[in-house]
């Protein structure tokens, strides 16, 4: 395909959009609504995944130490834990620091603690694992290793929570992937049909083009541009509508967050692709018939 032809075809696709405003408007509306459903799905997924990764991120393992342990032994343990493969970070919290933190947590009721004459809280290590080791089995293994050290009273990492969390997460991912496939396929299907609407409305033109010697590529290229352009415009509209929905939703669920600019851009790009793919498949079916 020559450059002249490509330029001509790009201009031509803009001209056809202008000439067939009605059909274009209808297919953009259909596309926007379809893409809105896709966008809602993606935003929910995005928030769920972010919530999950945050929960994983904030997960800590607490190793409580007996009061009888020597300072030098504690320092030795600190070094040994830090050198373990799984460990990202270790913070030692002395009995005094633990009490201070507890006081802060209690806030106004911290007076209660003044009644105590000894500090009941143990010293501890607060350990953050590397993300590759934040898997249920690996955590258990790690916990039993550290728990085996002389003078360790208890290792706590929210075992129950972790178990529930990982089954819920697995379940969510399966359901989400299933819904995702259904939503994306129906999006392509609906868009491809919307495009077919405009293909059928130009059936006569396409036939004439074939009769005067146009190749299939010459015929399909403007449609693919148009599909891409419509996909892009529709995705902007869908994004705008989603943002309004988000503004309402965030009143009820303040933890909700909107797409990052990168993700919003990726969504638009995806829609441009879906638009051109929809055009392409609609035309393929039509040109073969």
């Amino acid at each position: 395909m020559s450059v002249h032809q490509l330029l001509y075809l790009i201009k031509e696709s803009f001209r056809t959009i202008k000439r067939h405003k009605g059909v274009t408007a209808i297919s953009i509306i259909i596309m926007s609504l379809t893409l809105l459903i896709l966008a809602v799905f993606l935003l929910v997924t995005d928030n769920m995944l972010m919530f999950m990764s945050q929960a994983r991120e904030e997960m800590r393992i607490y190793v409580y130490l007996e009061d009888s342990l020597d300072r030098s032994v504690i320092e030795d343990y600190h070094r040994r834990i830090l050198s373990m493969l799984e460990v990202e970070q270790v913070v030692f919290i002395s009995k005094e620091e633990a009490l201070l933190e507890f006081r802060e947590e209690l806030g106004e009721e911290s007076d209660l603690l003044d009644a105590l004459d000894t500090n009941p809280l143990p010293a501890s290590f607060r350990i953050a694992l590397k993300s590759a080791y934040k898997d249920k089995n690996k955590i258990e293994l790690f916990a039993s290793k550290v728990g085996g050290l002389e003078g360790v009273e208890e290792v706590r990492y929210g075992k129950d929570f972790l178990e529930k969390f990982s089954t819920i997460m697995k379940g969510f991912l399966y359901v989400d992937a299933f819904i995702g496939i259904v939503v994306i396929l129906s999006t392509i299907f609906i868009i491809s049909n919307a495009v077919r609407l405009s293909v059928v409305s130009r059936k006569r033109s396409i036939e004439i083009l074939k009769l005067v010697g146009a190749t299939n590529r010459f015929i399909t290229t403007p449609f693919i541009f148009e599909g891409a352009l419509q996909g892009g415009i529709a995705s902007f509209i869908a994004m705008a509508m989603l943002f309004f929905i988000f503004l309402v939703g965030v009143k009820f669920l303040p933890e909700l967050s909107f797409f990052s600019p990168e993700k919003a851009f990726a969504f638009i790009l995806l829609c441009v692709l879906i638009g051109s793919a929809g055009s392409f498949t609609a035309l393929r079916r039509f040109l073969r018939a």
Binding site: M1, S2, H4, Q5, Y8, R19, R204, S205, E207, I208, L209, K210, L211, V212, G213, A214, T215, F218
Partner: protein
């Protein structure tokens, strides 16, 4: 011999269901020749032309158009055949949403020609068919004769070796008919072979050209009328005869 024919039709049969549209048709058109294909409605004229520009394919037999052979042609190459054959369709087939200029230019656009080349040639051709002043009009604003001339301009803009004209004088009044015929003869004198289908034998039998009679899908006669020669001279004769006949009809003078 073969090489001098630009169209070759051999034992061509076309059936729609179990109805024959064409039956064992044989026809060769030489390079630069002018042939009238005459027959009543339903004779199979349009079908024969469609088979030549390979919009359809034979039930049996073979069509050769230029270097394209119906039995072996790669369907992907058919656009290139269409660029070598100019076709004037019975129903014009103009793009309703594009102006006259674009309707002619499109035949060159599909070939990937440069824009300024397209402009130059399209303006030239539009001037030739007398439509330069209407270049920005949409087809629906044109008269039947003008639309026909747009169709002709589009068919010849790529300077094809073959021009197929399906009833190009169909619904036109005698003056316009004459104009169109004059145009086709001129194109032919430039070396383009013309195959023109018409149901109107009386219109074409006095031009001294080869006439092929088609009826019920069968060729009944293939003959050269008169002595051949320059059809444009005959056109003047045709005009003179027509004027006389018109007069007869209106005044009854010579009755």
């Amino acid at each position: 011999m073969e090489e001098r024919n630009v169209i070759g039709v051999y034992h061509l049969t076309k059936k729609y269901g179990d109805q024959y549209a064409l039956k064992d048709v044989n026809l060769q058109v030489g390079n630069g020749e002018f042939v009238f294909l005459v027959g009543p409605s339903g004779a199979g004229k349009s079908t024969l032309l469609r088979l030549i520009y390979m919009d359809e394919f034979p039930t049996d037999g073979q069509v050769v158009a230029g270097s394209f052979v119906s039995t072996t042609v790669d369907r992907k190459k058919i656009p290139y055949l269409r660029r070598k054959i100019g076709v004037i369709f019975q129903d014009f087939k103009l793009l309703e949403d594009r102006d006259v200029f674009e309707n002619v230019a499109i035949a060159m656009r599909v070939t990937g020609e440069k824009s300024y080349e397209i402009k130059k040639l399209v303006i030239h051709i539009l001037t030739q068919v007398g439509l330069y002043h209407k270049r920005n009009d949409l087809p629906r604003k044109l008269s039947g004769g003008e639309q026909q001339r747009v169709a002709i301009a589009r068919a010849i803009v790529n300077r094809p070796a073959i021009l197929l004209a399906d009833e190009p004088t169909g619904n036109l009044d005698p003056d316009v008919t004459e104009e169109i015929l004059r145009l086709l003869f001129r194109i032919n004198s430039g070396g383009t072979a013309v195959l023109m289908a018409t149901h109107n034998l009386s219109l074409v039998e006095n031009f001294g050209q080869r006439i092929v009679h088609l009826k019920d899908g069968i060729i009944h006669e293939d003959r050269l009328t008169g002595l051949g020669g320059n059809p444009s001279d005959k056109l003047s004769e045709y005009r003179w005869n027509r004027k006389r006949l018109d007069k007869q009809e209106t005044t009854g003078e010579l009755r």
